[in-house]
C-alpha cells in the first residue's frame, strides 16, 4: 500500500507541474552564464528533448496506479536492486532540495536583507515548508492554482513593464556560440527545470483518475516552460550582454523598471513571487523525499520524519557550499551529471522492463 492517503485530481496535476517548473525561474541564471543570448533556444531545445521523457513518467504512473516511485522500483527491479535505486533517488532529492533552500537564502542575503544571518532564512523557510508537508499533499495541491497565478502575474507584468527598454537586436547573431556550450546549456536546462519533475513519480500515485495524466502533464510542462521562456527573453532583451555578469539577471532587469518615475523599485514583486514559487517547489521536494524515505523503511505514516529530515536539509544547505561561486560550479558541472541517469535513463527503462515482464499484473496479488 502507498503511504499517502490523499488524492489529487488530474487537473491539479497540471497546476502542480506548471508551478513546480516556474519555481526554477531563478535557476536559469545557471544557464545564462554559458549560453548568453541564445538561452531562449536552449530552453526550447531542452523542452523538446525532455518532453518525451517526462511524458514517460506519466505513462509509468498510469501503468502502476496508486504506486509511488519506491514501490515501482521494488516491483520492477526486485527488492535489492530496487532499494539501491530508490536510495540513489533519495540522495538526488535531498541534494536538490538543499540546493534550492540555499538558493532562497542566497537570494535574500544578496538582494533583500544583507545583515541577517544566512542560517536564519534557511531555518524559517524550511520550517514553513515542513509545516506545509505535514498538512499533506492535498493541501499543497489546493494552493497550486494560486501559486501558479502569482508566478505568471509576476513574470508577465514585469515583461510588460520592461517592454520600452527592450532591444530585440540583442538576440542576434542567432548561432554564434560553439556547439559544446549549447550542448551544456541544453543539458542544464533539461536537468534543472525540466528534469527535476521526476519528483512527480512520487506524487502521481495519488491521482484519483489517471486517464488524463499524460495530457495534463504535457500542458503543465508547456505552461512552466513558457514562463521560463518569457523570463529568458525579458532578461536578454533588456540586459543584453550584461546579463552574464549579474548575480541574478532577473533582479537586475526588474530594478531597471521605470515608468514615469513612479513605478520604480519593483524588486519586491519578484522577491515575493520567487519566495512563493520556491516555497512551493521546496515543499514538493521535501514531501517527496519524506515519503520516499518512509516508504523505503516501510513506515506507516511519514509525519514523524518531516522535521528531522528538514533539519538535515538545512544543515546540508548551510554547510555544503562556501559561496554562490561554489554552488554554481557544482550545479553546472557535477549536479547535472549525477542526476542524468535518474531523470533520463531509469524511468523509461522501468517502463520498458515493465512492458517486457508484463508488470504490474503479475505481482498484484503478492503486493497486498
Amino acid at each position: 500500500m502507498s503511504i499517502e492517503k490523499g488524492k489529487i485530481s488530474c487537473q491539479q496535476l497540471l497546476f502542480l507541474f506548471a508551478g513546480f517548473i516556474e519555481g526554477s525561474a531563478l535557476l536559469i541564471d545557471f544557464t545564462v552564464g554559458i549560453t548568453e543570448h541564445q538561452t531562449w533556444m536552449v530552453i526550447l531545445a531542452g523542452l523538446i528533448i525532455s518532453t518525451p521523457v517526462i511524458l514517460s513518467y506519466a505513462v509509468l504512473a498510469k501503468k502502476f496506479p496508486g504506486m509511488n516511485l519506491v514501490q515501482i522500483n521494488d516491483m520492477v527491479y526486485g527488492r535489492f536492486l530496487g532499494k539501491i535505486i530508490s536510495i540513489y533517488y533519495i540522495f538526488f532529492f535531498s541534494m536538490t532540495l538543499s540546493f534550492n533552500i540555499r538558493d532562497v537564502g542566497e537570494l535574500y542575503i544578496t538582494f533583500l536583507m544583507q545583515d541577517t544571518p544566512f542560517i536564519f532564512f534557511l531555518i524559517v523557510f524550511t520550517v514553513t515548508c515542513a509545516y506545509a508537508v505535514i498538512k499533506g499533499i492535498e493541501v499543497l495541491t489546493r494552493i497550486s492554482h494560486l501559486i501558479l497565478v502569482i508566478g505568471l502575474f509576476a513574470v508577465i507584468s514585469t515583461f510588460i513593464l520592461l517592454i520600452d527598454q527592450m532591444d530585440f537586436s540583442n538576440f542576434l547573431p542567432f548561432f554564434e556560440l560553439p556547439f559544446i556550450k549549447i550542448f551544456q546549456g541544453i543539458h542544464i536546462v533539461s536537468m534543472i527545470p525540466f528534469g527535476e519533475t521526476v519528483v512527480f513519480l512520487m506524487i502521481m500515485g495519488c491521482l484519483n483518475k489517471s486517464e488524463h495524466a499524460v495530457k495534463n502533464t504535457f500542458f503543465g510542462l508547456l505552461i512552466g516552460a513558457a514562463s521560463l521562456l518569457i523570463v529568458a527573453v525579458r532578461n536578454t532583451a533588456v540586459l543584453g550582454k550584461t546579463q552574464t555578469i549579474w548575480t541574478s539577471a532577473s533582479f537586475q532587469a526588474i530594478r531597471l523598471i521605470n515608468i514615469g518615475t513612479v513605478l520604480t523599485r519593483m524588486d519586491f514583486l519578484i522577491g515575493i513571487a520567487l519566495t512563493i514559487l520556491m516555497f512551493f517547489k521546496c515543499s514538493i521536494f521535501l514531501y517527496v523525499m519524506v515519503v520516499a524515505v518512509s516508504q523505503l523503511f516501510g513506515l506507516k505514516t511519514y509525519e514523524p520524519l518531516v522535521l528531522p529530515l528538514a533539519a538535515i536539509e538545512v544543515i546540508i544547505a548551510a554547510t555544503v557550499f562556501q559561496s554562490p561561486v561554489d554552488h554554481a560550479m557544482i550545479t553546472q558541472n557535477a549536479g547535472i551529471i549525477y542526476s542524468a541517469p535518474l531523470v533520463f535513463v531509469i524511468p523509461p527503462l522501468s517502463l520498458l522492463i515493465a512492458k517486457i515482464r508484463g508488470l504490474p499484473k503479475l505481482e498484484r496479488g503478492k503486493e497486498t
Binding site: Q114, F175, L239, N258
Partner: protein
C-alpha cells in the same frame, strides 16, 4: 480535552516568545541614521593611486522640515562629504569617520567622474557601482570637464540639490538631443563589447559672476574604458541620429532666397542602419526619416509653400547629413567606434566578424557611410504666412 488545553498553552507561550524574535530589529536602519546619498563624485587625489570620493548627502532636517521659520533660510539642504581611499569602496567606508553612519546609496541619482579619472580609465572604478547591492543599474553616469567635486558644489537656482539638478539636465536631453542619457547598465554593456566605445555626458562649469552654473557641453567618448575625446553638441546629435535616439531639437537652415533663416523643430526621427560588406569594404547604409515643423522664420518671404518646403527639406537633410559626418569624422579622429558599427556587423556578419574584430582599429577609419536622409515638414504651427506685407508674392 486536557491534551488540547496543553497544546493551546504551548502555542500561546510560543507566540509570546516569537514576539521578541520577530520584531525585526536585526540590521534595522532608521531614517535618521541614514546618510542618504543622491550623488557621488570620483576624482583623483594628489597622492598618486588614491582617489577622492565626494558624496552628496541629504540633510534630512533641511528637507522634511518645511518649518514655520521661513523654510530653513540660507542653510544648504545637502552636505558634500569627501574622503580618500585606495579604492571606491575603501573611500566609502573611510567616509564613516566623518559621517558616523554608513552611506545609503539606494537613492543615488548620478555618479560623476572627474576628468583625470576618466582619462585614466573607468573600468577599475565602475565595478563597485555595478556590484554594490544598494546601487541601481539605472543610476546615471557622467563625466566632469574638470573635477567632479566642483560640479557637485555648484548650487543650482531652482533645485535644492546639485545632484538632482544634474540628473534633471541629463534626463531632459530630448529637448535638444545634444547629449544622451547613459546609465550604469548601458555603460557596462559598452564596456563588455569588443569594439563599441562607451559614452557619457560631459559637464562643464561656467563661472557667471559669483555663481557657478552647470552646463552639459556634449559627450565624452571612451576607448577601452579611457576617455579619448569629446563630442560637441552637433556631433553628439549626429551620433544620436544614427542611434535613432533623437527626440526633438532645432535645425536651422537658410531660407530659400538666402535672406534669412528657417528654424525647424524636430518632431520625430527614425533611423535604420544596415551594414554591408562589399568586396572587402565595409559600407554602412544609414537611412534616416525625420519629421519637423516650421517653428520660426526670420525672413519676410512666405516659406509655407511647396517650392520653399522642398528647398528647406533638402537643406535640413543636408544639415543632418553634415552632423552625422561630423560625428563620424570626430570618431575617426580618435578611432573609437561610438556608433557601435562593430556590434552591428557582428550581428549581421557573425562569421566575417571573427577576423574583423582583431584589426577593428585599422578597419574602423576605412568604413564608408552611405547616408540617406528623408526630411519632411509636416506643419507650420500657428501661422500660414509670416506677418509681412504681401510684396514677397510675385
Amino acid at each position: 480535552m486536557g491534551k488540547k488545553m496543553n497544546i493551546s498553552i504551548i502555542k500561546s507561550i510560543l507566540c509570546f516568545f516569537l514576539v521578541f524574535a520577530l520584531s525585526g530589529c536585526l540590521g534595522a536602519r532608521e531614517i535618521n541614521d541614514l546618510e542618504i546619498v543622491i550623488g557621488m563624485g570620483v576624482d583623483k587625489d594628489e597622492n598618486a593611486g588614491n582617489i577622492l570620493l565626494t558624496a552628496q548627502v541629504v540633510k534630512e532636517n533641511a528637507v522634511g522640515g518645511a518649518s514655520g521659520n521661513g523654510g530653513g533660510g540660507d542653510d544648504e539642504a545637502y552636505w558634500n562629504v569627501s574622503s580618500k581611499g585606495e579604492s571606491i569602496f575603501d573611500a566609502v567606508r573611510q567616509m564613516t569617520h566623518k559621517t558616523g553612519n554608513r552611506l545609503f546609496i539606494s537613492h543615488n541619482q548620478a555618479v560623476i567622474f572627474g576628468n583625470d579619472v576618466a582619462k585614466e580609465g573607468l573600468q577599475e572604478y565602475i565595478d563597485f557601482f555595478l556590484r554594490a547591492h544598494e546601487m541601481r543599474p539605472a543610476a546615471l553616469i557622467l563625466v566632469a570637464e574638470d573635477r567632479a567635486s566642483d560640479v557637485l558644489d555648484a548650487k543650482p537656482e531652482t533645485e535644492k540639490f546639485p545632484a538632482m539638478n544634474i540628473a534633471k539636465l541629463v534626463k531632459t536631453y530630448g529637448f535638444t538631443s545634444h547629449l544622451y542619457k547613459v546609465n550604469m547598465k548601458d555603460f557596462a554593456l559598452w564596456l563588455m563589447s569588443d569594439t563599441t566605445a562607451p559614452l557619457a555626458p560631459l559637464l562643464t562649469i561656467i563661472q557667471n559672476g559669483e555663481n557657478k552654473e552647470i552646463y552639459v557641453s556634449g559627450m565624452a567618448a571612451f576607448k577601452n574604458g579611457k576617455m579619448v575625446g569629446k563630442l560637441n553638441h552637433d556631433e553628439s546629435r549626429g551620433l544620436l541620429w544614427v542611434l535613432g535616439e533623437v527626440r526633438s531639437g532645432v535645425i536651422i537652415v537658410p531660407s530659400p532666397n538666402e535672406t534669412g533663416k528657417a528654424v525647424l523643430e524636430i518632431l520625430k526621427a527614425k533611423s535604420k542602419v544596415t551594414p554591408e560588406i562589399k568586396d572587402g569594404k565595409i559600407v554602412m547604409h544609414i537611412k534616416i526619416k525625420e519629421e519637423s515643423s516650421l517653428s520660426e522664420q526670420s525672413t519676410t518671404e512666405n516659406l509655407a509653400d511647396d517650392k520653399a518646403f522642398e528647398k528647406i527639406q533638402k537643406s535640413s537633410a543636408e544639415v543632418i547629413r553634415q552632423e552625422i559626418m561630423a560625428a563620424f569624422d570626430k570618431s575617426r579622429e580618435f578611432n573609437a567606434d561610438i556608433f557601435g558599427f562593430g556590434e552591428m556587423l557582428h550581428k549581421k556578419y557573425s562569421n566575417e566578424w571573427k577576423t574583423l574584430k582583431d584589426n577593428w582599429d585599422e578597419i574602423y577609419p576605412t568604413i564608408e557611410l552611405n547616408i540617406d536622409v528623408e526630411s519632411k515638414i509636416i506643419k507650420t504651427d500657428l501661422l500660414k504666412k509670416p506677418a509681412a506685407p504681401k510684396e514677397g508674392e510675385k
